[in-house]
């Protein structure tokens, strides 16, 4: 998933779970059935998992923008000075 997709997935998960919990509590209380409440909530958890966990295409709509190669060449990667190689070079020069 891209970054936007991950954010969407997290928000969607939170909202869905809370909505299902509130609905389950309300319906269970009105019908005076504890079992109904638990079944509605369990169904809600499964549905939420099916929607938010797999990598659906809808979570990949905002692709990561990698830098264009021609642009990358204009900004070369900085060279790291390694002490051992320069030491070897100077000894070769002396000989």
């Amino acid at each position: 998933m891209d970054w936007q997709g991950q954010k969407r997935a997290e928000t969607l998960m939170q909202i869905l779970l809370v909505v299902f919990a509130v609905a389950a509590l309300g319906i269970g209380y009105t019908l005076a059935s504890f079992q109904t409440m638990m079944l509605i909530y369990a169904g809600g958890v499964v549905l939420t998992a099916l929607i938010t966990v797999p990598n659906w295409p809808f979570f990949n709509r905002h692709h990561l923008k990698w830098l264009d190669p021609s642009e990358a060449e204009k900004h070369p990667k900085p060279q790291v000075n390694v002490p051992t190689t320069t030491k070897k070079k100077s000894s070769k020069n002396k000989q």
């Binding site: 998933m1 991950q6 954010k7 997935a9 997290e10 998960m13 939170q14 779970l17 809370v18 919990a21 389950a24 509590l25 269970g28 209380y29 005076a32 059935s33 504890f34 409440m37 909530y41 958890v45 939420t48 998992a49 938010t52 966990v53 797999p54 990598n55």
Partner: protein, 138 residues
């Protein structure tokens, strides 16, 4: 939320946390219920009333108990535990001491414990007065 496992863990953990909160609300909803049970205990027969070797008195009663406990049950009730206790006073203890009970007056108390499916257990009782033990052993 960058991998399948990460998201699956998030869903399960959040779901369980919300379940705990929901159960707490269910338990709180029990406080809206005001139970009003009725009970009637009749002593049909006093089978025996004897002094035991260790000094205590022993009584065997046949009771007819009728009670309406329907108001105790809510959607969150798993079971109701009910029992009847005979209680009396003596000079030494406020409640229940075992000897010299001839002619004593006692109360029949109906106790109940409402055990919930989730949350707090409520226990209460009704006291019924005006019962008497016989004047002589039999």
């Amino acid at each position: 939320m960058h991998s399948f496992g990460y998201r699956a863990n998030a869903v399960v953990t959040f779901a369980v946390t919300i379940l705990a909160v929901t159960c707490a609300m269910v338990s709180l909803s029990d406080n809206f219920n005001s139970p009003s049970p009725t009970a009637d205990v009749k002593v049909l027969n006093i089978n025996w009333f004897q002094k035991q070797p260790n000094g205590n008195d022993e009584v065997s009663l046949t009771l007819n108990i009728s009670a309406d406990l329907s108001s105790l049950f809510t959607w969150n009730t798993k079971q109701v535990f009910v029992f009847v206790a005979a209680e009396y006073e003596t000079p030494q203890n406020a409640l229940n001491q075992g000897n010299n009970l001839r002619g004593k007056d006692y109360n029949m108390t109906l106790h109940w414990h409402i055990m919930p499916k989730t949350g707090k257990m409520f226990a209460d009782k009704i006291v019924m007065t005006g019962y008497y033990l016989p004047q002589d052993y039999k």
